[in-house]
């Protein structure tokens, strides 16, 4: 059972500048799973992703990929950051940037190989970016840049792809397109996905697993297992209701008697 885990995060505590950000984080991700890391801003989602990437030290616990401790240059884990600011005059075309996904970390005098170029073409097709492959990357829209970043991460054939709030800066239409794209990537490329978001609903149709983060702690399992009043109340430390309306899930703050004011800064705890 343990051997089939792609990613195993065990008993992780994270502290930054003296503050405990995450406590006792435990979860597993298996091959080909689509996992959503849900939580409001400040819940520690980016920190957790950085821990998995090996960019953030842990006070306690470990991160294992295929049973081995995670290192910074592990090719099995790819990453799409939330926002990369591309200067408009950056002399890098879309296809050049995606090619950097293969050889961007390599020193040396060698020219780009033909095999790399072919992989780039293939990946551009997969994310439907072939149409603008020769445009300067700084001239694209936010949604288009998002696709290119995904292609850049996928081209080195990782087994797990981490995405930090990929839907945050997109309008609902573009967000839906990206989710469908990611779903097809998971199916066709056999890549496991872990993406963070403060909005759970757009991901409900495609998520295999949810990791719900609040109060420095997480709860992990299927949506039915995790998104329940008893589980979430225990997680938040306050009473919380779960309402299902037209297929959408709403997590609602309980009465003020139980300290509802502390939850004022959680955007998803409000009836929309």
């Amino acid at each position: 059972m343990v051997g089939s885990d792609l990613l195993r995060v065990r008993d992780v505590d994270v502290s930054i500048a003296g503050r405990m950000i995450l406590n006792d984080v435990n979860f597993r991700i298996e091959h080909g799973e689509f996992t959503g890391l849900i939580g409001s801003n400040g819940a520690g989602k980016t920190t957790l992703l950085r821990v998995i990437l090996g960019l953030q030290n842990v006070v306690r616990g470990e991160v294992l990929v295929h049973g081995q401790p995670m290192t910074r240059s592990n090719k099995s884990v790819g990453y799409v950051p939330q926002k990369v600011l591309f200067e408009p005059d950056l002399p890098v075309r879309v296809r050049d940037f995606v090619a950097l996904g293969v050889d961007g970390d390599r020193f040396g005098f060698a020219r780009r190989s033909k095999a790399t170029n072919e992989t780039v073409d293939e990946m551009l097709e997969a994310v439907e970016a072939s149409a603008f492959s020769t445009r300067k990357i700084g001239s694209l829209s936010g949604g288009e840049q998002q696709r290119v970043l995904i292609a850049h991460a996928l081209v080195s054939r990782p087994e797990l792809l981490l995405l930090d709030e990929p839907l945050a800066n997109l309008d609902p239409g573009s967000a839906q397109e990206i989710i469908e794209l990611l779903h097809s990537v998971v199916t066709n490329q056999q890549v496991a996905l872990l993406l963070s978001s403060h909005e759970m609903n757009p991901l409900l149709p495609v998520m295999d697993r949810v990791i719900y983060a609040a109060n420095g702690r997480i709860a992990s399992g299927t949506t039915d297992e995790v998104v329940r009043p008893d589980v979430l109340s225990a997680l938040y430390g306050h009473h919380v209701d779960v309402v299902r309306v037209h297929g959408r899930v709403l997590v609602v703050a309980g009465d003020h008697e139980h300290g509802g004011s502390n939850l004022a800064d959680h955007p998803d705890l409000v009836i929309e």
């Binding site: 500048a17 003296g18 405990m20 435990n26 702690r217 709860a219």
Partner: protein
């Protein structure tokens, strides 16, 4: 010699006030470029037979506007670099065609603290007061646009105009400081001491006050050392400004590492599924 102390004090206070914003806004390059441009103006004025001070002011303002305008077309550091080399090239051309003798040029480049005459003190003081008043008027919008540019745009602040207004103030204060500290080193008073102040406190009023303290200390020490050793004042200003920053940085680093070792982290009961 009293003139030296008076003009030096005025220049130091002005440089500290301007420098507080220069460091906040990341405009160190512009603060370096504008006095250099001013130098070119003095060389040109000399060539034409006009009072060098006029050349200083005109070219300093031209540099400020040039940087402001070109920043629309390209990155601001590129704009500053281009404006700077253009001014320097003009300065070199002026120097080549004139028959300037070296001490005058040296004085403009590296400063001549003993070269300020009594009847220049009053206009210098007035112009300095004007600049400080300008900074006071622009204090709030300048602070906001430096810390939170998007917020200030939302509040209706004309950021472009503010940028140029600030550069004009930098230009005027540079023109005042160049005869005293020299074109090449005017900017160092606007960087080292204010940056050191910011390391100690990030609260604006305190950092501003501390900038003035550090700047005065630096310039007074520089005047004294220059008087005793006969070395150019620019040498002392440049190296002491840097020294102030380094010393404060080291002290702050040492004292803060003592502070963070006393914390206790509280573990929270967990939840597993």
């Amino acid at each position: 010699m009293t003139n030296a102390w008076i003009s030096g004090t005025i220049v130091a206070i002005l440089a500290a006030a301007v420098g507080f914003f220069v460091v906040l806004r990341g405009s160190a390059f512009a603060a370096h470029a504008i006095p250099n441009g001013a130098f070119a103006g003095a060389a040109g004025a000399n060539l034409v037979g006009v009072n060098p001070l006029v050349g200083l002011v005109v070219f300093a303002l031209a540099a400020a506007f040039g940087i402001g305008v070109t920043s629309r077309r390209t990155r601001s550091d590129v704009a500053t670099a281009l404006a700077l080399v253009l001014m320097l090239a003009l300065g070199a051309a002026f120097l080549a065609t004139s028959n300037d003798y070296e001490p005058a040029v040296n004085a403009l480049l590296f400063g001549e603290i003993l070269g300020v005459s009594s009847n220049e003190i009053l206009p210098v003081a007035l112009l300095a007061a004007l600049c400080v008043m300008g900074l006071l008027v622009l204090y709030r919008p300048l602070l906001l646009s430096s810390i939170a540019p998007d917020l200030s745009v939302a509040k209706g602040v004309n950021v472009a105009l503010l940028d140029v207004a600030f550069l004009v103030i930098v230009a005027l204060s540079s023109a005042l400081a160049v005869p005293v500290v020299g074109a090449l080193l005017t900017f160092s008073l606007t960087i080292g001491p204010p940056a050191a102040a910011r390391l100690v406190s990030s609260r604006p009023h305190r950092a501003l006050a501390l900038s003035v303290v550090f700047s005065l200390a630096t310039l007074w020490a520089a005047i004294a050392c220059s008087y005793w050793t006969n070395f150019p004042i620019g040498f002392f200003v440049g190296t002491m400004s840097a020294l102030v920053y380094v010393v404060v940085r080291v002290v702050v680093a040492l004292t803060s590492s003592v502070r963070t070792h006393g914390r206790v982290d509280i573990a929270v009961p967990n939840l597993t599924l």
